[in-house]
Symmetry: C2
């Protein structure tokens, strides 16, 4: 047996007991006649003491040779510390060591194994197994495990069945970004890795499973943004014989359960917002409602004067920055530079100071009088002491720009407290989305999403206006889940695929099995999927997901620790009937 206790376990009540411990050497303090060693494992740290007068000489000598991260096993007696450490649970005791075995030596680690490490991102990725020893990463992984266990407990209690769907499926044009897997046994043919188990969970509903869930890896071979991973994990759920209201209630229940069990936070009934309102009021389909700063549309009150920039704009829209009037001219200029950065892309920004005395001072005083500016303040909800920031231009662009500014300012103002949780349902998403590059419409959620009752007729005439039975769950400005009520009859599915540009033949080749299934008694059904990586990060009070993934890949999709992907040998390629051709 390697240990009688872990390093997080011993208390004064164990005094005088002889114990065996094992773990990593966190720190050595050698005072010559006395040596203190912090011994660490997953559970905590226990202080060891080697005392010339009470520890055998050869053990004393061994202790002198210990280095950081050595793996050791000791035997000793629990004694009361002279100077107690109230900051650690084991701080009342130390172990007077009588035997020491070095289980494994260690090279000096390439970065310090401390909460605040000196290691850079790449180095920590390469030695991820050392990074995991650090509390911030270790605790994030333990936190993730707890969250998933709570998800399973809750959904199981609610009658959901966890069903594993296959990973080796078929490439579909749902996204062009499928990872494919050549089959050795089926020459020249490929499986694909699922971007989601979408069709399979629908088939489970056709199969009568009624309430399904799965915590499942999904894959997408796309250019990675800073905080995306080629493999990611979903909490995937589906229900039959339900309406949108049932789904919202079911997963609001799950989310509330998590907030309570994991964060100790009780949340009121989640507010709901129409997609159109979210775009209008926050310029964004995942608004952070922990704070206000709603958009005020100013076309009516700003387009009657001679200011051409506004007059020519599709949308003039502003926000009131609380207390923003205290910004100096220089600070405001910097803000204008900020919105003009390529990442945001605004051409400029108009502002209006709301003075404490009720007067206004804008950057366009030439065109607008106090009465005009008072209307701006009214529309944006600005109060004396605030600053109104106004952007104008193409509706979609200007909303995105002002939304970015709103989030940036809120962060600066400390309005985005990670300990505050503000969930929100955004509902009634559009069914289709215009791809501005190709001029084609594609499914905003996915091709299996049902249009709102009675709207399918609009597909031909006003495709962009058709609303879907689709909803997102937003938490603190992040989309943590999304879903829809699905189409469950062959005819509607065929119409939908036709509008998405599939020929009848393509539709049959790709989704024939699903449309066949719809003919054998498909129940009404719908569902939702949570992005687990992000959900866990947000519940954990973080915005980046990487520390919540044990072995993440970098922005080039590489695992720098194992050095993957990598070339494979000719023989393997031959067996797969493949040839690599780099142009």
């Amino acid at each position: 047996m390697y240990r009688t206790h872990t390093n997080g376990e011993l208390r004064l009540s164990h005094k005088e007991e002889t114990v065996t411990l094992a773990g990593w050497v966190q720190k050595v303090r050698d005072k010559g006649f006395m040596i203190w060693v912090d011994l660490r494992d997953r559970y905590g740290i226990t202080q060891l003491i080697f005392d010339e007068e009470r520890t055998p000489a050869e053990v004393m000598q061994q202790a002198k040779n210990l280095g950081r991260e050595f793996v050791i096993q000791i035997e000793g007696k629990v004694i009361e510390r002279e100077s107690k450490n109230d900051n650690m649970p084991t701080g009342d005791v130390e172990i007077l060591v009588t035997q020491l075995t070095v289980l494994n030596e260690a090279l000096v680690p390439p970065f310090t194994i401390e909460d605040e490490t000196d290691g850079g991102e790449e180095l920590r990725m390469k030695y991820r197994y050392l990074d995991i020893r650090r509390n911030p990463v270790k605790n994030s992984l333990i936190f993730r495990s707890k969250v998933t266990q709570e998800v399973r407990n809750y959904l199981s209690k609610e009658g959901f069945i966890e069903v594993e769907t296959p990973y080796l499926i078929k490439s579909t044009p749902e996204g062009a970004r499928d990872f494919v897997v050549p089959s050795r046994m089926n020459e020249g043919q490929f499986y694909a890795l699922p971007q989601s188990p979408q069709t399979f969970k629908q088939l489970l509903m056709v199969g009568g499973m009624d309430k399904y869930f799965q915590i499942v890896k999904c894959f997408r071979d796309e250019d990675l943004r800073a905080d995306r991973q080629p493999e990611f994990t979903q909490i995937d759920c589906e229900m039959a014989f339900i309406e949108q209201e049932d789904i919202l209630n079911a997963f609001e229940g799950l989310t509330r359960h998590l907030l309570k069990e994991v964060n100790g936070v009780e949340v009121e009934k989640f507010p709901r917002m129409l997609y159109d309102d979210a775009m209008r009021l926050y310029g964004n389909d995942k608004p952070d409602i922990r704070f206000g700063m709603q958009f005020g549309e100013l076309n009516e009150v700003a387009q009657h004067k001679d200011f051409g920039v506004f007059n020519n704009a599709e949308l003039v829209v502003g926000i009131a920055v609380p207390g923003g009037n205290k910004y100096t001219r220089k600070e405001i200029d910097k803000l204008i530079d900020w919105v003009k950065r390529p990442q945001v892309g605004a051409l400029g920004m108009v502002y209006c100071r709301c003075n404490e005395d009720g007067s206004f001072k804008s950057s366009v005083d030439k065109f607008y009088d106090q009465e005009d500016l008072a209307k701006w303040a009214e529309v944006t909800g600005a109060k004396p002491g605030d600053l109104i920031c106004i952007l104008s231009g193409n509706t979609n662009k200007v909303r995105a720009q002002l939304s970015a500014l709103r989030m940036e300012l809120a962060t600066r103002l400390g309005l985005r407290d990670p300990k505050v949780f503000a969930p929100l349902w955004v509902i009634d998403f559009p069914l289709l989305e215009l791809d501005e590059e190709t001029g084609h419409y594609h499914a905003m959620h996915h091709p299996f999403t049902s249009p709102k009752p009675g709207q399918i007729e609009l597909l031909d005439t006003h495709p962009g206006e058709v609303k879907a039975n689709a909803y997102d769950l937003v938490l603190n400005g992040n989309e943590i889940g999304g879903g829809s009520i699905r189409i469950h009859d062959k005819e509607t599915q065929a119409i939908m695929l036709k509008h998405l540009g599939f020929s009848e033949e393509e539709a049959k080749a790709q989704f024939g099995f699903l449309m066949d299934a719809f003919q054998y008694g498909a129940p009404p059904h719908g569902g939702l999927a949570f992005g687990l990586d992000r959900l866990v990060a947000i519940l954990g009070g973080q915005e980046t997901i990487r520390d919540f993934i044990a072995f993440p890949k970098n922005n080039a999709g590489r695992d720098v620790m194992i050095d993957a992907p990598a070339a494979i040998d000719e023989e393997q390629l031959n067996e797969l009937h493949l040839k690599v051709e780099i142009k």
Copy 2:
């Protein structure tokens, strides 16, 4: 709301309530003035009654048009049945229908949705979503969900952390049978899908996670035997600071928990058997010990006479078949034919009848007298009324043949009761295994398994004799789990890889990251993985795994429902820098 109750819920206590139900039409009995419909969902069946005198005429008419597997919603009143059905929980009531909505029509299903269906294997695979509606499949999937939830509850309670390891990893020669995944972003390079998360779980131990588990898909691109799948699920576990004894106790605990919670069976402490003994006594490293029929090695008592077949054999070995003396000559001849089938491969079989009067009658009486045969009976444990079956030849072959015969006879004798559970640890497996084709040794478990203390020196001189810290968990003649104590120092791992034929360069390229990790303070560690598909099947009292997998693949590795794998288009291949070359 689609329903107020499920179809498994209503009892006499609901009498007179107006309810709304939804589900599939299981059966229609139309007596003209009265129509009974069995309405089915995941939870059960409820009988509906349409009565000319009490049901509106138009509803009556609708009911007449219902077909099997139509999806309907009804409203009606719970009434007491005249003739109750004690075989179903809802058998005391029926619903007098007042409203009927057809939610979806259904074509006539290609096979009957009954416990005993008329559908063949291929047809049921193609329409798996219909097969899942049948109780045997549906209940198997629900059973699987329950087992996994119990596994997670138990391991979480025991302090294990579930950590997700990556699916996009690196191809290793651990087995040549990796599925690979071309990377679009990294030209000409491939990920591989894991055959197991072996190295990652070891890195988690180096990272101090201490107790890890994961229920995880694994992939192997090999020619499929009848009951194998290219993707399969493991309960993957690893612990640090442990010895073999700790592992056996931990997972014996898990298995006992499952047997108790899932099967309601309490099992004694699991017996343990040396690998060598298992081979000697059962001819097999996964003996079914629900019954006896142990092997008796007869070389000493059968090789002193003039029977050349036995004298020239490496091993002469027999089993006593309980009550086998009642077999007719014809039945025994059939048994001899059975062992001579190519699948078994014996050249012949010697037998000896043990008569009730204590005398013997063998097929080789020419060479052996009663005294000789009495010794055979003694060695094989045969009693009056038994039949001794004897095979001879090359040790490995003859053991496999007699093991097959033993299992076949036990099945015929009804000794393999699926409701009886006989777990067994088989321990001290050989470290290496001779590949008879190539003459090379390869790792019996995997290249990370540690040899028994003090045996590493034998690697040069007697590689086949080195025993490993490796163990299998066997249940009813099936290996349900296996694992080992791992190597945790770079030097031993290097020696091991050298003996497995890796050059220093290859070892570094493939496992450099692991051997590097061993230099930074690796703790002693080991683990075990359960094959979930098989475990669930055996706990469920079945021998085949397919019904416990929602969407299995066929023996050619194909999903016949979605028709995968399939060709992908030229554009996709170009993006992956690949060309298909079929010779």
